[in-house]
Symmetry: C2
Subunit: 350 residues, 2 copies
């Protein structure tokens, strides 16, 4: 199979972890006799430094032409200090989501049995946790109208949702639930927000076409609590952009290391895969960043492209590395393995 | 001292736990030679059933005249099923917050050493946790304009904040930090939201008048993660209404039982005290609800009214009950003590 893959390393540890993914893809090409071509683009702070914009049009073009996109991370300390700056690295990511219409963010939260001790939660609480968050990614308060009065004393953000925006992601979430434990939880704040009430109405209606899926509702405050008290009872969580941002980060903490979790951002025409974790600029260039999240994101990409066996080979190699304790220092403080060594081991075992 | 206290039991277990608070207040009156008068008002579902509105004007009047308000809880299963109904019990609470201008919600999250094992978090993670959330309570997306187009296909909520709304709560939060460990964390989403950027600007400026307080910033997604990974490093958290709702519920889960945590909602003229937990309708009338949160809210009320010694006496009695394991079933599944018995014990020990 011939595939075109766009590589957006981004900032901080993004490029380093992405390099490990590419090693794995080379191994996949060899083992399964595929041919992938790679094109690299700039985004985020790296693009700002070179082009003055966090999302150059060259980058958009190469993403549009690719069969799939692998993304590293965005943000540097320099820009983080000033979230009020007119141009910020994150805008590159937000714009890219819009440009490519990546309306669904999928974040699986699964505890690896070998790593259960890494969780901040007690074993009996975390045991068996395996859920996936479907977060709406191109609507809501992130993209609604923003206002600041001329005096700079009153500011506002609009959270708006349309039936269409809700229904396209809802269908994906119901389909996912159908193939899993058949439970879908819509997280909203329908006792307070008009947009949440629309979510509830639309999702309830769509639920009628998925009679095998049990649908329930949880207010977002309660959801944040349940994720702490009883995370294993969730199967598929469906929610809007901002709530999804908060809950998926909370969910990632469950697993003990942010360095383990992959994610996918998909639309009808394009798909992008990225590790859960951020750019972690403090670790940049130190060969200590955990490449597993990026490598598992690559497996999600292969799944998405229909290469299920190839994806399974990557996941198996990752599990082997975890089992043999060939991991970075976030998982084992005494580890002698760095980003490169863990990447090498996983690639070699594909 | 003569004081007028308004009692709003509300729904579910609200009235039962409030009764235990009143027992404690009677004990305080006797021991410290005070005279309190109590007036009762309806709110929430109870008020809807009787008056057709969740906040009758009689209730507003008696709250306005009182020196302080004790609140139980709001919401019943009947109304929870339909969050889209035109009139809902929660509106009573939201309106009351507005009417009385209770712009600051204060939620201390503190782990009782005797109950550390109840936490879903591991001991080493939770140990030493003692923070307080200052949540803005009368602004933001809860109260911004809500719209639904005539076709019912597009809905929106506006999140708006003014400098004035931010600054009045910020001053309270800085003062609290000054009297604690001198750390204030502003939680926002300034990389995405205009209103968050205003929060950051205003809070930074106010921070200059509190040089002894160290101010830092955390994006809300990161805050939800840190609360799981490292809750003990927080001191005072300041945040807007919706983020505060989510984080304080997440925070309450840290302690293992929602039945333990008190809260205060204060403005310049009025103050209301209520347990963290909701109305828990499943437990109504069963004498199993934990009265500690309501009783500790009463202690917060006494503190607020300048009766510090009296407040300390209540807290000491609560600690004694916990130490002697005179607790409800949420804390000890084999307990033979119910709501009333725990209330009696605490009142007797004041
Ligand atoms: C970088 C930031 C804008 C982004 C978001 O909030 O969507 C990130 O937190 C994420 O979750 O992907
Ligand atoms: C009942 C509800 C409207 C309320 C809120 O979200 O403010 C509650 O969750 C709270 O935290 O006090």
């Amino acid at each position: 199979m011939n595939l075109k893959i766009a590589l957006l390393g981004g900032d901080g540890i993004g490029p380093e972890v992405l390099s490990q993914s590419i090693k794995c893809l080379h191994a996949v090409e060899e083992t399964f006799n595929h041919h992938f071509t790679y094109t690299e683009g700039l985004i985020g702070a790296a693009a700002m430094d070179k082009f003055g914009t966090p999302l150059p049009k060259e980058t958009i073009a190469l993403c549009t032409e690719a069969d799939a996109i692998l993304f590293g991370a965005i943000g540097t300390l320099k820009y983080d200090e000033n979230p009020s700056a007119k141009i910020r690295p994150e805008q590159g990511l937000l714009q890219l989501r819009t440009e490519l219409k990546l309306f669904t963010n999928i974040r699986p939260v699964k505890v690896f049995p070998t790593l259960i001790d890494k969780s901040p939660l007690k074993k009996n609480i975390i045991f068996g946790t395996d859920f996936v968050i479907y977060r709406e990614l191109t609507g809501g308060i992130y993209f609604g109208e923003k206002k600041l009065n001329p005096e700079g004393t009153v500011a506002s953000d609009l959270c708006e949702y349309s039936e269409k925006e809700i229904s396209r992601i809802a269908h994906l979430a119901f389909k996912a639930a159908k193939n899993r434990r058949k439970k879908l939880t819509l997280v909203d704040k329908a006792n307070v927000m008009e947009s949440s009430r629309l979510w509830r109405k639309v999702v309830t209606k769509i639920g009628e076409s998925y009679p095998e899926v049990e649908l329930d509702f949880l207010f977002v405050d309660n959801a944040a609590m349940q994720m702490m008290l009883d995370p294993s009872h969730f199967d598929v969580i469906l929610t809007e952009n901002m709530f999804g941002d908060i809950l998926s980060d909370q969910g990632s903490a469950i697993c003990g290391s942010k360095g383990l979790l992959p994610s996918a951002s998909i639309g009808n025409e394009h798909a992008m895969f990225e590790p859960f974790h951020g750019s972690y600029p403090q670790a940049e260039g130190k060969n200590i960043a955990n490449p597993v999240a990026s490598i598992l994101s690559t497996a999600m990409m292969l799944n998405h492209l229909g290469l299920d066996e190839e994806a399974r080979a990557i996941v198996a190699a990752v599990k082997k590395a975890l089992r043999k304790n060939i991991v970075t220092v976030d998982l084992n403080p005494d580890s002698k393995y760095g980003t490169e060594e863990v990447g090498d081991f996983i690639a070699k075992n594909i």
